[in-house]
Symmetry: C2
Subunit: 474 residues, 2 copies
């Protein structure tokens, strides 16, 4: 395994070469190159024929670049890759990302043989390989990006992602989760640099506070477990394991050529290691943002404040189905609630149902949440907001008032109950215009550091995962 400083050099290279850049902006070589220019990297195009690409001098070989180059991205047909690796070795390049595919993941003898040749060439040249069949590294602090438009903001979530597609999509999507990344690494077939090495690096990396992993298969199960356990004792880790079913494992074979293991083994291994295991894209996102924005609660008892009896019943069911509990409040709390919540069609038990009185007096939200949060039976707060459709249609200004009431509630919680996490649910709204207003409202709330979920189910899963965590974020 490489040591920390060797890896850190790769993520913060003095210069970067892109081998296989054409002038065609729809080709991947060009996209990598443009992305690195946009990220303000010291990036050099390598192309046998062109003299200049996008205003930068092009070189026929990486060896001809008259600057330090620590990292290269290779996007040329497979047959030429071993020679480029040899040249990289001569140039002193530490690591290459190989975008080129048709290696072991193709399942063909030729593909497997080609991948073996890569590994041999890399060993001989003393160059580390990321991939093949991947998009490599995005690291804002190292001015490395995948493509034009990849977020540039330095964040604190490190994301190890075997799939290039997920790596790219999540890079864009994470804005809506309120997440920014320290590093994203798409490592494809993992013929050399693997999940465990990357995990050990991120565990040590001071830029990374939380680690997310999308992994399809590992080649050395024991080593993966040990590394995961070690890393999970230092930082919160969320693992999404692709290929957990019979069919999924077959799909993995044609995607990254990895072995997949059985669902039972994976589930047991990940949980025992102290990491959180999630099952889909939404749960991955929701759990990361819960860890990013919320304190770890001291228990699993949820206090719920919102409107609607049906919504109260459903919220309770969905919390309890996801391993949380919705306890009765103390008599004293209910008495205090009773003094501010009118009795008709409401409830001051848990969930607290403010019914339509909320729409008449939005400050009830903060007042009731404070009373519920003060109850010793409650560890976690859920505030759920429905009837956005009616608001947008009849009293659009209510959207602004609800925004302010939620901000007040969040500030009150941060001030008075910093150890009790608060999440907000914006229930589905309906018509296109209302949905668009909801997207806008959600963005503003996320920008204020509030965890917003689109359903009780998703919130309850994320909160249950958060409550299972054994360590705090640094």
């Amino acid at each position: 395994m490489a040591n920390f400083s060797e890896f850190d050099r790769i993520f913060h290279p003095r210069g970067v070469a892109v081998v296989g850049v054409s002038s065609d902006p729809t080709k991947y070589g060009n996209m990598f190159f443009s992305g690195l220019i946009e990220a303000d990297s010291n990036v050099y195009p390598v192309n046998l024929k062109e003299k200049e690409i996008l205003g930068r001098e092009a070189y026929p070989s990486i060896k001809d670049i008259p600057h330090d180059v620590d990292y290269a991205v290779i996007s040329i047909p497979a047959s030429g890759v071993p020679k480029v690796i040899e040249d990289c070795g001569k140039k002193g390049v530490k690591a290459v990302t190989i975008y080129t595919a048709e290696y072991s993941e193709s399942g063909t003898k030729e593909g497997i043989k080609r991948e073996k040749e890569l590994v041999d060439a890399a060993k001989k040249a003393n160059v580390r390989i990321i991939g093949p069949n991947c998009i490599g590294i995005c690291c804002p602090s190292g001015r490395l990006s995948f493509f034009p438009g990849t977020p540039k903001e330095e964040g604190d979530v490190g994301f190890i992602c075997q799939s290039g597609g997920h790596a790219e999509e999540f890079a864009y999507e994470a804005e809506s989760w309120g997440i920014t990344f320290s590093k994203i690494i798409s490592y494809g077939n993992a013929c050399d640099v693997n999940c465990e090495e990357l995990l050990a690096y991120l565990a040590e990396d001071p830029e990374t506070k939380i680690i997310g992993i999308y992994v399809e298969g590992v080649k050395d199960g024991r080593r993966f477990i040990d590394t995961l356990k070690d890393a999970a004792s230092q930082k919160p880790i969320v693992v999404w394991k692709g290929g957990i079913t019979k069919g999924g494992s077959r799909a993995v074979a044609s995607h990254t050529g990895s072995l997949a293991g059985s669902p039972e083994i994976w589930s047991a291994v990940i949980k025992q290691s102290g990491a959180i295991m999630v099952n889909d894209r939404d749960e991955f996102a929701d759990t990361l943002s819960a860890i990013r924005y919320l304190s770890r609660p001291s228990g699993e008892r949820v206090g719920i404040v919102g409107t609607g009896g049906g919504a109260s019943v459903a919220s309770t069911d969905l919390c309890e189905m996801n391993g949380l509990s919705v306890p009765l409040l103390e008599e004293k709390t209910m008495e205090e609630l009773g003094k501010i919540v009118p009795p008709l069609g409401t409830s001051v038990k848990n969930p607290v149902d403010l019914s339509y009185f909320l729409m008449q007096n939005f400050s009830l939200l903060e007042e009731c949440t404070e009373l519920v949060a003060g109850d010793p039976n409650v560890d976690i707060l859920i505030v759920h907001i429905g009837h956005l459709g009616r608001m947008v249609k009849f009293r659009p200004s209510d959207i602004e008032i609800i925004f302010e009431a939620l901000i007040d509630t969040k500030e009150m919680m941060a001030d008075k109950f910093p150890k009790k996490p608060l999440v907000v649910i914006l229930h589905p709204a309906g018509s296109m215009n209302v949905e668009i207003e909801k997207v806008k409202l959600k963005k503003r709330l996320v920008e204020e550091g509030i965890c917003v979920y689109p359903s009780i189910s998703r919130a309850a899963r994320a909160l249950s995962n958060l409550a299972s965590l054994e360590i705090e974020v640094e």
Copy 2:
């Protein structure tokens, strides 16, 4: 139990009275009244003091209305309700909705006693009660609506909903599911008219093709089972049972005062009856729209077409975790796919991964879907679309092209494989602008009769529910 024509008169009344209408537009009496005016109902306000409300002559008592009145909505303090019921009897009113709360759901002796008095008054007056503690009936063909803004379009889904909040919210929200309603009935505490009677009515109702139920508790379990079984043999039925957990059952007690039963009993009962049981709001919506728009597949084997290796692996896992399977395609199908899908970084196994070639040639979507749908191993088609963020940012016109490619694919399927359901996934997109574009794209696709889901998980659950159905929609 009332017979069909007695009930049908209530849903298509000659005249409607609203008892307790004030001039204050934020009061519920006024909202019911305004909603019924907007729905073009023959509606009459009853108010002791006012002579005219919203330009309509007001009457001091229902008995003073000089027109036929078959149905009344009562929104006055509990103490006055028995007298109004007595008057309704004298006027020949068939049924009343009682919005007023603080009956059995309050859990107090007084509340329980008040509810008993209601039942006695109704029996004596020969008037049926819907509620109390509910918002009653929405029936576009009968010009009955809950409130201003309640959808007026006549649809074919009948929705029996114990919760008023869910009834109102779903009335608005269903636009985004592509669903319109024949009837929505919020029936609250069910002191008289109950879920079983309503179910028997909708089973017979020619306007209703599909039935959705949100039920918290029933008072006669045996009768509920028998009615459900009978109705489920005639029409597809989706049941969301609120109060299935310990905490949820406690919440039910303070919401509609019903007994809740244990989760095991409910789950077994509903499945045995031939109805579909769902666990949350999203699954309820997703399943209803799957039944509404898709043919019942002849099996559970899914063919998947989209982009991204990681997305392919995840799709497969999530289908199989939800009881579907993702089989290998026949050699012949893969050969045909291989002729049109370039080999690099793609897959022609199932899932078919078009990688970035899709972005270069969107007609691959229809062509590949046709080949996969023609495979005898495939019963259901999922098309999933990612990278919307990149499209919106760099080639906004791609959104239009993808819309057209999806319409072509849908038309091809309807034409050549009418028995194989097709659903479309629009993966999460990220930035606010992209999310807004996605909301718009989804709306257009839903208007074209395409089932669109926001994640593979939600699609897989809905499809699995659809596949479990034992009867077709009429």
